[in-house]
Symmetry: D2
Subunit: 427 residues, 4 copies
C-alpha cells in the first residue's frame, strides 16, 4: 500500500495526503458532509460551472498549507511535526460550520449562530475525542503563540482565501479572479513569528487584492445571484412564519434536520443543535423547495416554483437608497401585481416579492490586521504603505451598492431600468 493517498484536483493538480491522522479526518463524516454543500450556494444558477463543493475547497486549502509550510521551512523557520499536522488539520477543518447556502440562510435558519461559532463548536467536539486536536484548535482560534500559524488559517492572506479565489474563478470561468497563488506562497516568510510577504511579492499581492474585489462584484454579489439569494430567503422566511403560525403542514416531507431548525424560532449551540446541524446539507433545502412547489399555500408554492424553475426576480442597482415615497410606489405596484395574479397582497407577502438591500465590500482592511511587507533591510511596512501601491488605499474604502429585487413585470411598470448588469446569463 502506498504511503500517500492521491486526490486529483482539477484546479491545483494532484493532492497527496500521507496516510495517518490527516487522512482520517478527510474521511470523517463531518468533512464528508461538505461534499454535499456547494461552495457558491445558488451561484450555479448564474455560472453553470460553479457546482463545486466545500469539500474540494477544504482539500485545496489543506494542500496550499502544505506548500506554505514547505516554503517557510526552506527559509529556515522550524516547524515541528505536531505543528505541521495541526496546521494542516486547521486548514482542512476551517469550514466545518458552514450549512447549506450559508451566506444566504445563516440569518434565517440559524439566527444567532454564525458559521464561525459552529465551526469552533464542532472543532472542540472533535478535540474532546482526540486530545491531539487541541493544538489545531489553538491555531484556529489564535491562542497558539506562534502567530503565523493562525495567520495561515485565518487572516487577510490565509489559505482559505487563496484557495477559494483560485477555485471559484476556475469554476465560474471568470478570468478576472485568476491569481498567482504559487508566487504569493513562494514569497511568504516568518519574521518574529509573524507572517510577512517579501517585497518582491507586492505585485502578486496587488493582483490578489484586486482579484478579490472583482470576484465580489462579478460573482459573489452578482445581481442575478443576489436575486436568487433573496428569493430563497423569502421562501424560507415564509415557511418559518407559516410554521410559527401553526401551519404545520409546511414542514411535511422535510428532512428531520431541517424541521428541527424551522420548528423553533431560535436554537442555542447545544449538543442537540450540533447533532442536527451535521445532518444538514444542500439536499435538505432543495428537497424542501421541491416539497413546497406542491404546497396549498399559494405564496409558498409560487416562490418555490420560481426558484426551482429559475424564474428569478430582477435586481436593480440604485445610485442612492430610494425615498420613502418612491419605495411606497414600488410596493403598491407589487401589491397590484400580486392581486392580478390572485395572490394575497398583505405587507408580509409584498415584502417577500420586493426586497431592498445593499451590498458592501472592501477589498482590503488597512492597519495592524493588514498584510505586512518585508524588505531585505529588515523593515516591515503595512501593504497599503509600501512602495508603488497607489491603488491599495483606494480599494480599501468600503463600496456600498444599494439595490432592490422585484418582479420583472413590476420593474417594467414602475420604469426601473437596470443600471448595471454583468455578463453571465443576462436576462
Amino acid at each position: 500500500m502506498n504511503r500517500f493517498k492521491l486526490f486529483a484536483d482539477p484546479v491545483g493538480g494532484f493532492i497527496s495526503i500521507p496516510r495517518g491522522r490527516v487522512l482520517a479526518y478527510v474521511d470523517h463524516p463531518f468533512v464528508q458532509r461538505l461534499r454535499r454543500i456547494r461552495q457558491l450556494g445558488l451561484g450555479f444558477l448564474v455560472f453553470p460551472g460553479a457546482e463545486h463543493s466545500r469539500f474540494q475547497h477544504a482539500l485545496g486549502a489543506m494542500a496550499l498549507m502544505q506548500q506554505a509550510l514547505q516554503t517557510l521551512e526552506e527559509k529556515g523557520t522550524e516547524i515541528s511535526p505536531q505543528e505541521r499536522e495541526a496546521a494542516l488539520l486547521a486548514a482542512l477543518l476551517h469550514d466545518l460550520g458552514h450549512g447549506p447556502f450559508s451566506h444566504v440562510l445563516e440569518s434565517v435558519l440559524l439566527p444567532g449562530l454564525s458559521h464561525e461559532a459552529i465551526t469552533r463548536a464542532l472543532f472542540e467536539r472533535l478535540a474532546r475525542e482526540d486530545e491531539a486536536l487541541w493544538l489545531s484548535v489553538e491555531i484556529f482560534i489564535g491562542t497558539y503563540p506562534r502567530r503565523f500559524l493562525h495567520q495561515l488559517v485565518s487572516s487577510q492572506l490565509d489559505m482559505d482565501r487563496l484557495d477559494y479565489l483560485r477555485r471559484d474563478s476556475f469554476y465560474t470561468g471568470v478570468a478576472e479572479g485568476v491569481i498567482g497563488v504559487e508566487r504569493i506562497i513562494k514569497t511568504m516568510r516568518v519574521v518574529d513569528e509573524e507572517l510577512v510577504i517579501e517585497q518582491k511579492g507586492v505585485y502578486a499581492l496587488e493582483n490578489y487584492i484586486i482579484a478579490r474585489r472583482l470576484m465580489y462584484w462579478q460573482v459573489y454579489l452578482h445581481k442575478t445571484v443576489l436575486a436568487a439569494d433573496k428569493l430563497l430567503l423569502a421562501l424560507v422566511r415564509r415557511a418559518r412564519a407559516l410554521a410559527s403560525s401553526g401551519e404545520g403542514s409546511v414542514l411535511d416531507g422535510l428532512s428531520p434536520a431541517l424541521r428541527f431548525f424551522l420548528e423553533a424560532p431560535f436554537r442555542t449551540l447545544t449538543e442537540e443543535t450540533l447533532a442536527h446541524f451535521v445532518q444538514l446539507d444542500d439536499s435538505d433545502v432543495l428537497g424542501a423547495v421541491k416539497c413546497w412547489t406542491q404546497s396549498r399555500e399559494p405564496v409558498l408554492r409560487d416562490l418555490a416554483l420560481r426558484l426551482l424553475e429559475r424564474r428569478l426576480p430582477r435586481t436593480i442597482f440604485l445610485e442612492d437608497p430610494p425615498q420613502e415615497a418612491e419605495l411606497e410606489g414600488w410596493r403598491a405596484a407589487t401589491a397590484r401585481w400580486l392581486r392580478s395574479r390572485a395572490l394575497p397582497d398583505d405587507e408580509e407577502t409584498i415584502s417577500a416579492y420586493i426586497q431592498l438591500d445593499n451590498s458592501r465590500n472592501s477589498a482590503y482592511q488597512l492597519g495592524h490586521e493588514g498584510i505586512w511587507i518585508w524588505y531585505p533591510d529588515g523593515r516591515r511596512v503595512e501593504f497599503s504603505r509600501a512602495t508603488d501601491t497607489p491603488n491599495i488605499a483606494a480599494v480599501s474604502q468600503p463600496v456600498i451598492k444599494h439595490y432592490v429585487c422585484l418582479p420583472r413585470e413590476v420593474a417594467q411598470e414602475v420604469g426601473l431600468r437596470r443600471a448595471f448588469q454583468a455578463p453571465e446569463e443576462i436576462s
Copy 2:
C-alpha cells in the same frame, strides 16, 4: 437588450445563445431540472472535482453543434435556419430522459424504461405543444432524410460524446481524456448527406477513440466508482423489497416522485409516469439515503450510512469469473461477517454486501455505423481501415473485466487482494 445571452463555461469559453426559441428551451423546467443531476453520478466520491451537472453538458453539446454547423456551412453544405435551430435543440435536449444516478439506478428504479425511451417521450410531449419541434424529434430519432444531422446528435462521433469527454476529463483532472475537439470539428464535412472526417483528421480521431477508452477504465468504470454504484444499487433494491413486503415506513420522508417509483414494481411510460419523472433529481435520492440512515431496519440503515459517510466496499478485479465453490466461500465469509456485526445473514442480505459483476467496453464499433474518413480523391473508408490506424481494430475488441465488490474485512479474510488499482483516492 443584447441579442444574445452569454453563459460562461469554464470548459469551452463563453457560450452565446441568440434570444428566441433555443433560449426559451434552456429556460424550460425540463432542462433546468438537469442542473440538479450530476453528470457522473457518484463519480464525485472518487474525483472531487466531478460535481458538474447534466445541465452544463447539455449547453456544451449545443455549443459544439453551433461550431460543427458553422464548419459544415463554410465548406458549402447548405443548412436552413429551421434545420439549424432544430439541430441545436436536438443537442440541447438529447439527455432529457436521464434520471438521478441513471447509469446506476435505471434498472432498479425504472425497470423497463431506458433513458433513451424517456428522452423520446419527453421530446414528443414538448413537440405536441410546439409544432416546430417535430423537426428536432426527427433529427433526434433519425428519420430526417439528411443523415448528417442525426449523426451530429447521435453516432460514434456526436456532440454528446465530444462534449462529455472534454468536460469529464476537465472536471476529473484526468489528462488521459483530453481531446482536440476543435480540431475534430474543423475536419468534419458532409458528403452525400453523411458526416465524414477529412483524412487530415485521423490522428485527432485516434486520440479521441483512445481517450474514450481510457476514460472508461479510469473514470466511468473506476473500481471505487463501481463500488459506490453497487452500494447505492443494493440500498435502493433493499428499500424497494421492503416496500413490496409491506414495510411502508421505508418510504416515509421520501419525496412524492421517488415514492411513486418505489411503490410499484413496474411503471409504463404514461403521462403520470412522466409527470413524476420530471420531478426526480439527485436530491430525491440523496434525501432518501439520509432518511434511511435513521431507519429501524438494520441493513437499510447500515448500507445508507456506508454510502453517506463514504465507507465503500472494496472492488477486486478477477482474471476470470470465480468458480462456484470459490464464490460460495466468499458468501459464507460474508455471512459470518454479517453475523459478527449482528446483521441478518439471509441470502438477500448477503447479496447486498457481496456483488459479482463485470464491466465491458469497446472503444469503437467497426462497420457501417463506424466513423468514415474522406480522402481528397473522393474515396471514403471506414476509420479502422484507413491508412496508419493499426491500433483502432485492436481497441474495437470488447474488453471484459470481472469483478467482485465486498466488504474490506471479508476481502482480507478470504485473501482477495486487489489486482488493480487506479490513482485516485486509493484505499
Copy 3:
C-alpha cells in the same frame, strides 16, 4: 482545398484565415520577417518561456479583430467587406516597423526613426503596390472617418494591447497578467462611430488596466530585463563609437543590414533605409554579439561575453536619484574595478558599465483619449469617472522608478543593496 487556412495558436486556439488578401499578407516577406523577432526582446533571459515572436502576436491581434468586428456586427453596427478586410490587415500589419530588440535599440540603431514611423512607411510602400491597402492605411493612421476602426487598431483598448497582454502573460507564466479578453470584446459597442464598453464590462476593464500595470513592473521593466537591456545598449553604442572612430574591424563579420545602420550616425527614411531595415532581425544582432566576443577591443569583447553568457549587471532601484557626489563615488569604484580587470577606465568605458536611468509607467491615461463606458440609458462616461472604479484614477498617475545598473562586485563594494527584487531568476 479548404477555404480557410488554420493556424494552431497555443494562446487563443485555432486562428482561421480565409484564403485571399489577408492570407497573402501573412505570407508577405515583411510579415514573415516578424517570425525572427522576439516579442519581448531580451526578456527570454529572465522568463525562459518568453521566446515568442512578433509574428504570432500579429496573427493574434488579427484574430481578436475578427472577434471584435463580429461582436459589433451582432450589435447592429454595419461594416462593409472592404472595411472588414482593411481592419484585419491593419491589425496584422500594425507592428511591421519593429526592429530587433526595438525597445532597446531604437535610439542607438535607428536614431530619429521611431518604429511607428517605419511601420507607416512600410505600410505606405505596400499600399503603393496594392491600391486597396490605402483604406487600411487610413484606419491605421486615424484619418478614416469611422473612428472605432482606428480605435480597434490603436488606442488604450486596441487589439494590440489585448493580444500582447494575454500572450506575454501566457509565455512568461505570470498569472498577474491574465485578462478576460473574450469578456472585454463581448462588451464592446459602437456609438456615434466611437468604440465604447458597456457598463457591465467595467470590472473586466479594471482587471485589464491593473494587469497591464503589473506586467510592466513584473515583466517589461523587470530589474534583470533592464540590466540585460542596458548591457546590450552599451555594447551596440560601443561598437558604433568604435566604427565612427575609424575602427572598421568592429563591423567585420556583421550582416550587411546591420553594418548599414552602424556605419552612419544617422539615417533618414529613404527607400534605401527601408530596404536595409526589412533585412534586420534578431539573428543580425545576436550574430554581431557573437562576433564581438572575439574582438581585439577588450571592452567590446568583455561586454559581448557578458551578454552571451548571461553574466548581467545588477540593477538597484533607488528611492531618489543619487546625489552628484554619491554617483561620483560609484563611478570611481567602477573605475577601480575596471583597472583591476585590466580594462580602460576612461569616462566612456565607465559609462558602459554603470548606467543610471529611470522607468516610468502609468497604467491608464485619463481624459478624452481614455476608454469610454456606455450606460443603458445612453450616457457615456470616461472610465476613471465611472461608478465604482476608485483605483483607476490612482493608477493613472505615472510611477517613476530610478535605478542604476552596475557590476555586482562594484555594488557590493559601495554597499548598494537591492531595494527591490522580483520573483524570477533572482540572483
Copy 4:
C-alpha cells in the same frame, strides 16, 4: 538571499533550483547556449507557437527528475545526496550536444558526429574540470550500477521524453500530445534497482505511448515541417559543395564556427571541433541563410530566399516508393521547370529541388528495453504483455511513410495530389 532560485515555466509552473552546483551548471555557457537553439528546429514555420528553446526543455527535464526522485524516496528507495545531484545534472545536461536544427543538419554539418557522441564529449570535458561530475557521466552513459538512475535519464520513459512531449504539445497547441506527466511519475517505483511502473499506471502509460505516436505524425514529421527541413538540407548541402569546389565566397559573412564546419568535409571529435561546436547556434544558420539570399550563385540564392520567405516545397505522401520511370518523369518535369526559371538543370540541382525520402516511426519498442509494469503481487511484466493493453503491440510495429518534396508547380504539372494533409497551415 533566498536559498533557491525560481524559474517561471509556463508549462509546469515554478521550477525551484537550490543554489549550488546544479545552479552553477544552469549558468554555464554550454547550457546558456541552448537558449539560442529552438527545440523543434524549423517547426515554428508550421506551428507559430513552437519557438521554445532547448534551454527550457533542459530545465524542464531537470524539474521532472526532482519530482521522480522525490516519489521514489517516498516509496522507500534510498538515494544519496551525491546521487540526487548527479541525476539532476544528468537530466540538465542530457542535450548539450545538440547543434542548431540538429535533426536536419547533423548528417550534413557534422557527418559522422552524432549529437549523442558530442553530448558525451562535452560532458566528459566538464568532468575533467569538476571531479564530482563523473558520477553524472556514469549515470548518463549507463555504467553506474543503479540502473534506474540511468533509466530516468535515458530510456523509453525518461525525463527527456516526458518533458518534450508535454512541452511540445503545449507550444504547438496539439491537444493530441497532452500526457499525464504527474500521474506517470507518481506510479514510478524501483524494484531490484530497475525502474518500473505500478499497475495502476497502465492507462496513463498507454496515453503516453499513443501521444508520442501522434506527435510524431502530427508535429515532428508533419508534411510541411519535412518540406522545410528538406529545403534547409538542400541549401546547406549546396553551400558545402560550392565551398568544396573552391567557391569560397559562399562562406563570406558566415560566422567563424559555421565556416569551420563547412570548410572541411569531415571533422573528428577533437578539442578544436568541440571549441567551434559550442559557438554554434540557430543564429549562425539563420545568418548564413540571410547571407545566401544575396549570393551570386542563383540556386543558392533561390533556395535561401524560399526558406527565408517561407515559400516551401510541397510534400506528397506516397502509398509506395515510386517506380524508377515515374521518378524520372518527375525529375524531368523539375528540370523543365528549372529551365523555365533560368536556373541550371544539372543532376545536382534537380536533386536540390526534388527529394525522395521516407519517415519511419514506431511508438514503442517491445522487449527487454521496454517499460515494465509492476503488480502488487511482485510480478513484473513488459508493458505490451500487461493486462488490457491490446493496442500497444499494434503501435510497436514501425510505420513507414514514403514521400517526395518538390516544387508546387511541378507537383501540379505531373498530377501529384497530396494524399494526406495535417491541420496546421495547410496550403
